[in-house]
Symmetry: C2
Subunit: 371 residues, 2 copies
Amino acid sequence: MISEAATGYLAGPVLVIGTGLLGASAALGLRRHGLDVGLRDASPTAQRVAVDLGAGHVVAAGEGFLPELVIVATPPDVVAPVVSAALREFPDAVVIDIASVKGSVLAALRADEMLDAAALARYVGAHPMAGRERSGPVAARGELFTAAPWVVVPHEGSSAHAVKVTKAAGADLGASVTQMDAAAHDQAVALISHFPQVASSLLASRLLNAPAEALALAGNGLRDTTRIAASDPGLWIQILSHNAGQLLPILQGLRGDLDRLITTLQDPQAPGATLDLAQLMSEGNQGQSRIPGKHGAPPQSFATVGVIVDDRPGQIARLLADIGEAGINLEDLRMEHSAGYEVGLIEVQVLPGRRDELVAALTALDWKVVQ
Amino acid sequence: MISEAATGYLAGPVLVIGTGLLGASAALGLRRHGLDVGLRDASPTAQRVAVDLGAGHVVAAGEGFLPELVIVATPPDVVAPVVSAALREFPDAVVIDIASVKGSVLAALRADEMLDAAALARYVGAHPMAGRERSGPVAARGELFTAAPWVVVPHEGSSAHAVKVTKAAGADLGASVTQMDAAAHDQAVALISHFPQVASSLLASRLLNAPAEALALAGNGLRDTTRIAASDPGLWIQILSHNAGQLLPILQGLRGDLDRLITTLQDPQAPGATLDLAQLMSEGNQGQSRIPGKHGAPPQSFATVGVIVDDRPGQIARLLADIGEAGINLEDLRMEHSAGYEVGLIEVQVLPGRRDELVAALTALDWKVVQ
């Protein structure tokens, strides 16, 4: 699996504790820089699969392995005790965890009587914002963190060296390194990750008893809003428990808005009802428009061109080849789903300045372009 | 714009009243079958744009135009009076409306003292489940309804002839024709269309005051769940008002679930809290899994293969060309967004039986395949 040996920022060795999807992926990614990577997992099976994948070698306790960095990638509910044990077992190592919630881990470590300030100085939190629908080491890949945010979360006592090593790990994994404190991080992920997950799950759970003939009419709106409702319950139960304090005010805000909407819809002809609905929709418009686009581009900064294609092998390839030959970069692409039909609409997004050129090029090639 | 003259099911002529996005698109689509299409809009500008697009010719009152079918495509809040007037102006025509909510239109027509049973027999509701983010006739296209559901909604007094003509219009527009009664239709769209819209708007409106550094961490989860929050407020205010009765019980169900979740998160270590969270997530999983896939395929029936690509013109085209040359049909495609990076992950979906073949073919061509 070591296909590209390139010099990275870390010197190594690195110990990864917890060889599930994220741990094994981090190990694979670091191995590509030629680093010596040790592995350890409470599950002999998960550990064995990670070794078989080429993620590293097993490191037992007391065998003299001296890591520069220990990455704790266990399930969230055991992160704090595992970090604490690692800080004590490896008194010269920087120890990071990559759990999705940082405040609860930090609080537990600060309350840990077995850790002194010197030990705590070697701890830094990290949050790689990457994942897959599937879990376990079998789904691991060295590129998992490529281009994903790697949030470095130091505490007041973290040493400069520990912060540097934590950033180096993110850089070696090809991630986009940023820094926040634990409170800001947990508030941010509550809003942009945990809240959408909860909303999607709540929405999808209303479909449990829906008639099949209703679901047959489902379009991209329902599909998009419920896609993440398919996420792994086990992991999310822990995340939601650990970040309950940050998630609660957001859910209470939602409840307030929902209560108002229910009251409005109970008498939609009442004075002010239309204004209430307008406000809901308009605030949704504005909130949505604040989400940055791909490559950190300002929201909605790409132009969309629709093209009708036959649903046959090679059609979309031919379209994209034509776009590529026109020298225009594709920023995003979307296929419209449809039930029972063999034609579809492809929406391609390009920089606005290239839009007319693209329409002209495709039209000249007899594509059915929809402007 | 009449590029393909083909014999359709309707004989014509057809009058389209309301030449916005949907009306003008229907007119364009029917013109392709060589039908004589008349147009009428309260806005002289919208009417003029539709004529300029080649959607048809203006039909003034009293000029002897004798349509087989009148399609009322006005905003929802004036549909009923416009349908009523059309039934009286054209005593031999079938009159349909294509608004998103059917029960309120039907109730208004039944209460209309100017209509007798014979006139009402010529009315049938229809709901083409297609749309675009943009509105107005400029965005119109004849293919808008292609492969989209066209729900025919007769009432008890609709004549067999009127139902047949309504279905013929959907068939001529290339849509997938189905039939439901008004109550079943309105319940279905409340659940699969209006509810996701409200949920997405409520979710996005919580982003209004979010720190930019939090939004910079946004991933596909937030993007997907909030995409439809960008929808046109004007139209949705009318839809939500008109279908309030069907939407309310769903929102009350959501409020019940949300209340329970808030209570649970107020003490996530309490006995039973974990089980509550597990139930939320699991019901979300189950609800999501009930949504049918593309082409009406059973949910989750496609296999996903990930491929790492450079973000340069032609890369994705080359990938899809390779997939096409392997003779494998692409069922869906997804680009992972990322901030500040020039590489990305393309997830392609294929029939599960073709998955291994695809992985082998792409690996042989040196693509970085992620399984």
